[in-house]
């Protein structure tokens, strides 16, 4: 067993986990943050994407112990009680999620992208979603939502979408 202390969504959290525990399992089982999903457990689907020190990471491929001392952002950290994050709002407005299982991972990938590039091009968005599989939507509405979110976050007036 190892003791892991890390920052999750701005709070310092500690858990005692088995050495083989992945960051995803620790978030879900020990910290009760079930927003990040387990889809394939081999790093293919991206449903477990979280942001570690500013970079999107497949949390099913990272050991909890490797996250020691790092800064982890999960889907639960985006919204506050009175405000939905602009990316989440855009995903809702564009109806970008259907079954929703890939959603938290996709939104975290989008967040990492917009943190780095506030005004991404469509190829850059497609590239950023390269590690996220979605079986329902065909991605078009997700790209639409990320463009909308990027405009909103840069404070540009949005007349209408579509």
């Amino acid at each position: 067993m190892v003791t892991v202390t890390l920052t999750v969504n701005g709070e310092t959290r500690t858990a005692i986990v088995g050495g083989e525990t992945t960051l995803l399992r620790m978030l879900r089982d020990n910290l009760n943050l079930t927003g990040s999903k387990l889809g394939c457990d081999v790093g293919d689907c991206g449903a477990c994407t979280v942001i570690v020190d500013g970079k999107p990471v497949n949390s099913c491929l990272m050991l909890a112990a490797q996250a020691e001392g790092r800064d982890v952002e999960t889907i639960e950290g985006l919204a506050s009680m009175d405000r939905v994050h602009p990316i989440q709002k855009a995903f809702e407005e564009c109806a970008s999620l259907q079954c929703g299982f890939c959603g938290p991972g996709v939104i975290m990938s989008a967040k990492a992208l917009l943190d780095e590039i506030p005004n991404p091009t469509i190829p850059q968005i497609r590239d950023a979603l390269g590690g996220n599989l979605c079986r329902c939507t065909g991605y078009v509405k997700m790209i639409e939502a990320i463009l909308l979110a990027s405009r909103n976050m840069r404070g540009e007036a949005v007349q209408s979408i579509r």
């Binding site: 927003g35 457990d41 989440q88 999620l97 079954c99």
Partner: protein
């Protein structure tokens, strides 16, 4: 009928409500019904006001917040984790199962084999599928032993310690082999062909005789897995009153409840099946899989038991799309009129029936395509093989035959040196066409749709779709360009 009950609208002002509190109430008795009831039937092709409106999904916000509770996100006090030991061999007789080492492991709470299942057979149409394989194994994903333990890891480790001794048989893997009478039955003494369908319209021989050209081709499609992002998951809780509550990713709970009742041998009223939000179905979650096993493990341990398929489980043990072998023979005149079409479909049904009956019917009914053909003969067979079972998947066989008949149309167009669009326009269904099974079709807009699509697509006659008019990846990006 004409006097509608007054119910306050959302935007009723406080003043109006105060003036007449009666408008807050629904009328007690329903309004008198006069016969015949007038039903408003919208005119064909009339758009409803909903078309073109923007709408958001009711569950969209929770999905985006990560607050939606799928089964793997739920825990219950004292919950155990189940793992299934799968056969790993395609066709075999089980000589012995030794679970003693697994049972002795600390943390293992229950081990279940086929002997513990009251009625060890289920299936949505034919009951040919064991809950846990007992005597025979019919495909590599067959569940043989189930283990419930305090953690997922202990359950997996226990599965590895279970020893199963098999007498291996030669598996039947090719559906065309399986079709032959001399091939040993997968489920002997039952025949390998477990369902067939024939459609006959007009006189096929006469049709071929009237044709100038006969085109023959064979098309094959592959097995496809649904790959829902959320794997199959179940939580079962058997309570002290003999009732069981099951949380399941199952799409058809009413059907599933009956199947669970029959396998468990308890009245349906004792089963509470909770359909949770499902992370993708696509037809793969239309029937029960491990639900009875989980229920029995919960009964044995007195604790809630959860099981989530691993991704490999999804591929080898859940249903898949039927691979089809499709033989097409079409007679056509010089100017492109189709006179006759003969079709044979062989569906690879895998080890169990699942939704093969539905798939077979739909594939056969649609196999001639949306074309006016006077003389049709179609036959379809679904056969057992020792492979992962095939079942429902979006379209129930329609996409496979569509691939075949449209490829076939292109081949005919090439032979006749005709524009493939023109060939289709000449033969396609119109208002009032009769389908191969005798249905008079209404609201048919295939021709208009084709022409609109051709216009939007920039179709410029013969062959332009495969060379000059081909879309480049850049254009596709532009086509999906999002107007913000």
């Amino acid at each position: 009928m004409d006097k509608k009950p007054k119910v306050a609208e959302k935007d009723s002002s406080v003043e109006s409500v105060l003036k007449d509190p009666g408008i807050l109430r629904e009328s007690v008795a329903s309004p008198l019904v006069t016969y015949p009831i007038e039903v408003v039937v919208p005119k064909a092709r009339q758009q409803t006001p909903a078309v073109g409106q923007r709408a958001t999904r009711l569950d969209g916000r929770l999905h985006g917040l990560g607050q939606t509770s799928y089964i793997d996100d739920m825990t219950f006090p004292g919950m155990l984790y189940a793992k299934i030991k799968r056969a790993g061999v395609a066709s075999a007789r089980i000589k012995s199962i030794d679970t003693s080492e697994a049972e002795a492991m600390p943390g293992v709470m229950a081990v279940l084999t086929g002997k513990d299942v009251p009625n060890n057979a289920f299936g949505p149409s034919l009951k040919d599928q064991p809950v846990l394989a007992l005597e025979r194994v019919f495909h590599a994903g067959d569940p043989v032993v189930a283990v419930a333990a305090v953690s997922e890891q202990i359950a997996s480790e226990a599965c590895e310690k279970i020893k199963i001794d098999y007498e291996l048989f030669t598996p039947v893997l090719d559906p065309l082999e399986s079709l032959k009478l001399e091939t040993p039955g997968v489920h002997a003494p039952s025949a390998n062909i477990y369902q067939k369908k024939f459609i006959k319209k007009g006189d096929i021989e006469k049709g071929f005789a009237m044709s100038d050209h006969i085109v023959e081709s064979q098309y094959r499609t592959q097995m496809v897995e649904h790959v829902p992002l959320e794997p199959h998951a179940t939580i079962a809780m058997w309570d002290a009153n003999g009732r069981v509550t099951i949380y399941s990713t199952l799409g058809r709970i009413t059907l599933g409840r009956a199947d669970i009742a029959s396998t468990l041998g308890i009245p349906i009223s004792r089963i509470r099946l909770v359909a949770t939000i499902v992370g993708g179905n696509f037809g793969g979650k239309n029937e029960i899989t491990t639900e009875p096993v989980l229920a029995l493990l919960s009964k044995k341990t007195g604790r809630p038991v959860k099981s989530v398929f691993t991704r490999p489980d999804e591929f080898i043990a859940s249903t898949t799309r039927h691979p089809l072998i499709m033989d097409y023979k079409t007679g056509v005149t010089k100017d492109g009129r189709i006179q006759a079409r003969k079709i044979r479909l062989v569906l690879d049904g895998g080890a169990y029936c699942s939704w093969s009956e539905t798939t077979l019917s739909k594939a056969c009914i649609l196999s001639a395509g949306p074309y006016n053909i006077e003389n049709i003969y179609a036959e379809a067979y679904v056969v057992y093989t020792n492979k992962t079972m095939t079942g429902a998947m979006r379209g129930f066989g329609a996409p496979q035959v569509c691939f075949a008949y449209e490829s076939h149309m292109d081949e005919i167009a090439t032979l006749l040196k005709m524009d493939p669009l023109e060939l289709r326009l000449m033969n396609v269904f119109h208002e009032g066409s009769i389908s191969p099974t005798g249905q008079k079709l209404q609201s048919v807009v295939v021709k208009e749709s084709l022409l609109r699509a051709a216009e939007k697509f920039g179709w410029k006659g013969k062959g332009s779709g495969t060379s000059g008019g081909k879309l480049l990846p850049k254009d596709i990006i532009d086509a999906t360009t999002v107007r913000v």
